[in-house]
């Protein structure tokens, strides 16, 4: 049941698009963890760079998207930059389509 809810949340998060890269935050590898306990959801996520001005919008967007999933009572989103995001966290197809360089 919990696994299915996590999958549903992951699916809902795909509506959140990184404005610069134009891909959803799940396929970009921004979502580090989704934990569920009694309907309370805790999402740990990142962004490309700490200085990115869209960071709080991404966080709020993830919260709003996850809240729409049936069975979710509350959502807490934590933004972290440890470990830092790197392109190897992206889905291979997305990385190729965006023409990203190999990870330094």
């Amino acid at each position: 049941m919990t696994d299915r809810l996590v999958d549903d949340i992951r699916g809902a998060l795909r509506v959140v698009i990184d404005p610069e890269l134009g891909e959803n935050i799940v396929d970009l590898g921004f979502i580090y963890d989704i934990a569920v306990a009694d309907g309370a959801v805790r999402i740990t996520m990142t962004a490309t760079t700490p200085g990115c001005p869209a960071t709080s919008f991404l966080k709020e967007g993830a919260q709003a998207a996850a809240s729409t999933v049936a069975g979710v009572a509350s959502v807490d989103v934590t933004m972290t930059f440890e470990p830092a995001w790197t392109p190897d966290l992206m889905k291979a197809g997305v990385r190729a389509s965006l023409g990203f360089a190999a990870v330094n």
Binding site: T49, P50, G51, P53, F57, F100, A101
Partner: protein
């Protein structure tokens, strides 16, 4: 812009700055204030101040109100000062320009116009300096250090300018007259080199890394670049003031400053090349490709300076040199970055609040790069042609180049207006439920 907050008046600053740029271009096309003419000629003073205060400084202030909070991850010290500062700067510039026109007998004599303009500009820039300075000082690291040195240079530039204005009105005494007679190079270097160039360098470090997903330049490297630039400005302003005060020659001081300035430009080139090399995003967007042309212009400026100094012809071609600095390097970079910043801020303002609630476009969906690229190409090619025309002392060819620059800038402005109006966003994504269309001239958030 901490997280989602957007500076309300940045777009207003950009609109005012672009208006002044079009005024400057119109003056050059009309042949008023030819860059190669005597710098002290009233028409030249009008043109120079329209470009440096109206266009470059106001655009820079607007960008800094948005980006200094990002650089230091702290909110702006006082957001409410941004609009009064713009009003004061605009009124001060208009008064200053009227004063110059009165000096040139284009308007009836009114000696008070110049000091009034200077006071208004000092107060306006004072609000900007205190607001941005106190914000940057909270976390003075990396690019924020460049901004702080840039703001200090702005203070020096404004101080010299105020003395000049009072001296031209006959209200500054013998010391003021001495500063006016010999201090113009110090005013110009502090303004173009310290305030505008060092600040543009600092902001570009962050913007380039952010937009190309490159690691930030190592702190010790950027600090070395800044140190060279700061020494150039300190040598110019401090050494220059001492030389004027003790009636010594300025050439040695300016030569030392030029060496530091060249070192700064070379180190900056090294840092920017490192950002480009280490970028994770291989495809370069239009703003980056166009920024590269401004970096090439900066490099060309350095080479031109070396050639002119070594052939002892700098005084003869100072107009061409300053024109390439103002339009090839600074204006080119500002226009390229405006194109991206306006799209990014418009996206944040319109689509940020509905993210996660509705499908949203990408920032790139707000722009039409293939259409915009031709306007930028026209702009840069005509700037370089204009520089050659000034070097060849061909005023007719220069005016034609200025006319072509105007075509390029009008095209770029049109693209920016289209971005603000979301005209290039495909209709299914243009205004999702809950999204509010942005105002052309200010942020609604």
């Amino acid at each position: 812009m901490i997280g989602g907050s957007i500076s309300r008046w940045t777009m207003t600053y950009f609109a005012a700055a672009l208006t002044w740029l079009l005024v400057a271009l119109a003056l050059m096309v009309a042949g008023i204030g030819h860059p190669a003419a005597d710098l002290a000629a009233p028409d030249t003073l009008v043109l120079v101040h329209v470009v440096c205060i109206g266009w470059l400084s106001i655009a820079m202030c607007g960008a800094l109100f948005q980006f200094v909070p990002v650089l230091v991850a702290q909110p702006l010290f006082c957001e409410r000062w941004a609009l009064p500062a713009l009003v004061l700067l605009t009124a001060g510039l208009v008064s200053l320009l009227a004063g110059f026109m009165a000096l040139g007998a284009r308007l009836p004599s009114a000696p008070w116009l110049l000091p009034l303009g200077a006071v208004l500009l000092v107060v306006g820039f004072g609000l900007v300096v205190v607001d941005l300075g106190l914000t940057a000082w909270r976390r003075p690291t990396g690019p924020a250090r460049f901004v702080l040195v840039g703001l200090a240079s702005l203070c020096a530039t404004a101080a010299f300018g105020a003395v000049f204005a009072f001296a031209l009105a006959g209200w500054a005494g013998r010391m003021g007259d001495a500063v006016l007679a010999r201090g113009i190079p110090l005013h110009a270097v502090a303004g173009l080199g310290g305030w505008l160039t060092l600040t543009a360098m600092g902001v570009s470090y962050r913007l380039l890394s952010m937009f190309m997903l490159a690691p930030d330049v190592e702190d010790r490297k950027s600090r070395l670049t800044l140190a060279a630039g700061a020494l150039a400005i300190a040598a110019t302003v401090g050494g220059g003031a001492i030389a004027i005060g003790f009636q010594l020659g300025l050439n040695t001081v300016l030569s030392i400053a030029a060496l530091f300035g060249l070192a700064c430009a070379a180190l900056y080139g090294r840092d920017i090349a490192a950002i480009f090399r280490s970028r994770k995003r291989r495809h370069l967007e239009l703003n980056m490709r166009m920024a590269m042309l401004s970096f090439a212009s900066l490099a060309a400026t350095g080479l031109l300076g070396i050639v002119l100094v070594s052939t002892r012809t700098l005084p003869l071609y100072l107009g061409a040199f300053a024109f390439l600095v103002a339009f090839g390097w600074l204006s080119g970079l500002v226009l390229a970055k405006l194109y991206k910043i306006v799209a990014f801020l418009t996206w944040l303002e319109t689509y940020g609040p509905v993210m996660g609630r509705a499908p949203t476009p990408r920032v790139q969906d707000l722009v039409a790069e293939s259409r915009a690229s031709k306007w930028f190409t026209i702009y840069y090619v005509s700037v370089w042609m204009g520089t050659l025309a000034l070097l060849a002392a061909e005023p007719g060819a220069f005016r034609m180049a200025a006319a072509a620059m105007t075509v390029g800038v009008v095209g770029i402005v049109r693209e920016i207006v289209r971005i603000r109006r979301l005209e290039d966003v495909a209709s299914p994504l243009r205004l999702p439920a809950g999204a509010v269309a942005p105002h052309l001239l200010f942020a609604k958030t």
